[in-house]
């Protein structure tokens, strides 16, 4: 991958795009959360990313690792709810893997660490109808596409987004076992998980930024 300032520009662009996308889809995410949660997922994430954008725009000359760590810390302190510690905490912990900047290898390590921390903190497994259902296949696909299929990172990322999309669809027919939706028991079946949906959106924007 490129040098630090190019990486920083790309990261900032990705954050801008994610922030804009979440702002656009705020109502949609909240509607999904109304059906099987408490109608705040869109507002929560939007508040978080608005703060993230402001924070990183002020970070002159920080290296990529610092930026990603700040994203995580800001999400922790602005989002609250379940999504705050999950997205924010995982991001913060996984940022340690970016010590040597963003390379193909560190991006895989980041993704794996992110998933590990997420499962650790939230104790959810695939099939529990949470964001884990979108993140797990995405991370697995990304790693396998590069390490076994020798695809270039951009193509691997595109495949990971596809996998996340199937993960989101996979949540619809499931009964939730984690998160607020689990309180609904069988009534959660037939609804799409908001957290998995926001995961997909974030990945889509990262891909779109990388393709530019």
């Amino acid at each position: 991958m490129a040098d630090e300032s190019v990486q920083r520009e790309a990261l900032l662009a990705a954050i801008e795009n994610v922030t804009a996308r979440i702002a656009d889809e705020k109502e949609y995410l909240t509607d999904l959360d109304s059906a099987i949660g408490d109608a705040d997922h869109g507002a929560n994430l939007n508040r978080g990313f608005q703060a993230v954008l402001k924070k990183v725009e002020e970070m002159d000359g920080a290296d990529p690792q610092e930026i990603v760590k700040t994203v995580g810390m800001t999400l922790i302190s602005e989002v609250g709810g379940a999504a705050g510690p999950l997205y924010g905490g995982s991001c913060m912990t996984a940022s340690q893997e970016l010590d040597g900047g963003i390379t193909t290898e560190t991006s895989i390590a980041f993704a794996e660490a992110f998933l590990e921390k997420l499962q650790d903190r939230g104790d959810a497994r695939v099939g529990d109808k949470t964001m884990v259902d979108a993140i797990t296949p995405a991370v697995h696909t990304y790693k396998k596409s590069i390490e076994q299929d020798d695809l270039p990172p951009l193509q691997a990322l595109a495949k990971a987004v596809d996998a996340a999309e199937r993960g989101v669809e996979f949540t619809v027919p499931l009964r939730a076992s984690k998160g607020r939706a689990s309180y609904l028991g069988w009534r959660s079946v037939g609804h799409q998980d908001p957290g998995a949906t926001s995961t997909l959106m974030i990945l889509e924007e990262i891909l779109a930024t990388a393709e530019e």
Partner: protein, 332 residues
């Protein structure tokens, strides 16, 4: 949907300012946070009791801050748990060196943020942070398929008993034991006649027909476990009370506290109509009501509906529940 607010995004901030303006001598807001603490926090020689959760449940939790109950309460955005850094600030601000007990309602967001906060606070030098998780909502099965039962109105009895224990000078371990004793003996079940409307969304979280109600609701405007036909108040009281009693499985002659709790939009008139039947049911079940509480203790914004809590009490808990308390929402 009309609300007496300014910008939806400012509502928690403005509410907290309105609260400290109403109780300037009793409550203090930690600068730059959504945390309310006792004006005189930290209180020398006492274990601190703190709680927190999403906003929209007023008077929970800030209304219970004061002598004999909570030392601090953190308010998240509406229905969203507070962030770990604010929780950590609260823990630090209330710790008088005797340790801090966090009373957490069982929601994954709350639990995860409180856990993170405890780690942060201990890193900042707080002597000891303990946590109890309240899960009194009997509507939700505690099984592999759920994140456990939710914490709802029974939480205020935890605040009361633990707060009294701390106030009389019990140490952290003892205060935690008391809190857990309440948790082991309390159950709650709720119903919604209407959905609530959050300031952000401005529309009902769920639609409910003119002849339907939700049973087994939480306090976040989430739909309940079951949707049934509207019933007379007495039948609703019976349905809710029986669910709680089935869960608790109390012995004949057991002394209990009952709470008929309004969800925010329910007139007091209706709460008393419910209470009438609840008291009859206690009698039918051979239970001795030691205290019957009726009011809005833990709400869901403007939701119409109610929950019924039953808590078995012995001499130890009775002493603590009767102990003096002086907070905006509960005085003894």
């Amino acid at each position: 949907m009309k609300k007496l607010i300014n910008e939806p995004g400012d509502v928690v901030d403005e509410m907290l300012d309105g609260m400290t303006a109403a109780y300037p001598e009793e409550l203090r807001r930690l600068d730059g946070t959504n945390v309310i603490v006792r004006a005189d926090a930290p209180v020398d020689g006492e274990v601190a009791i703190v709680s927190g959760g999403g906003s929209g449940h007023e008077p929970t939790h800030a209304g219970y801050v004061g002598e004999g109950m909570l030392d601090g309460a953190a308010a998240g955005e509406v229905f969203t748990s507070p962030t770990a850094d604010e929780l950590s600030e609260m823990i630090q601000a209330t710790d008088a060196g005797e340790g801090v007990l966090c009373v957490v309602k069982n929601y994954e967001g709350d639990v995860m943020n409180f856990e993170t906060a405890a780690e942060m606070a201990e890193m900042e030098g707080v002597s000891e942070v303990a946590q109890v998780v309240v899960n009194d909502d009997v509507a939700v099965e505690d099984s592999l398929y759920t994140s456990g039962r939710r914490g709802v109105c029974g939480t205020i009895l935890v605040h009361k008993a633990a707060g009294a224990a701390a106030h009389r000078g019990d140490d952290l371990e003892e205060v935690q034991r008391i809190a857990e004793k309440v948790i082991d003996n309390v159950g709650t079940m709720g119903t919604a006649l209407t959905s609530c409307v959050t300031p952000e969304k401005g529309e009902p979280t769920f639609d409910l027909g003119e002849d339907e109600i939700e049973l087994g609701i939480g306090i976040h405007g989430e739909p309940g476990t079951e949707r049934v036909d509207m019933m007379p108040a007495d039948d609703i009281a019976e349905e809710l009370t029986n669910s709680v009693l089935d869960d608790l499985g109390l012995e004949d002659g057991q002394e209990v506290v009952t709470i008929v709790n309004g969800m925010g939009g329910t007139p007091q008139m209706e709460l008393f109509v419910l209470n009438r039947k609840v008291q009859k049911l206690m009698d039918d079940h051979g239970l001795e009501v030691w205290d019957a509480m009726v009011g809005d203790y833990m709400t869901s914004l403007d939701m119409m509906g109610a929950s019924i809590t039953v808590c078995a009490v012995d001499d130890e808990l009775k002493e603590l529940l009767a102990y003096e308390a002086d907070t905006p929402a509960l005085k003894r």
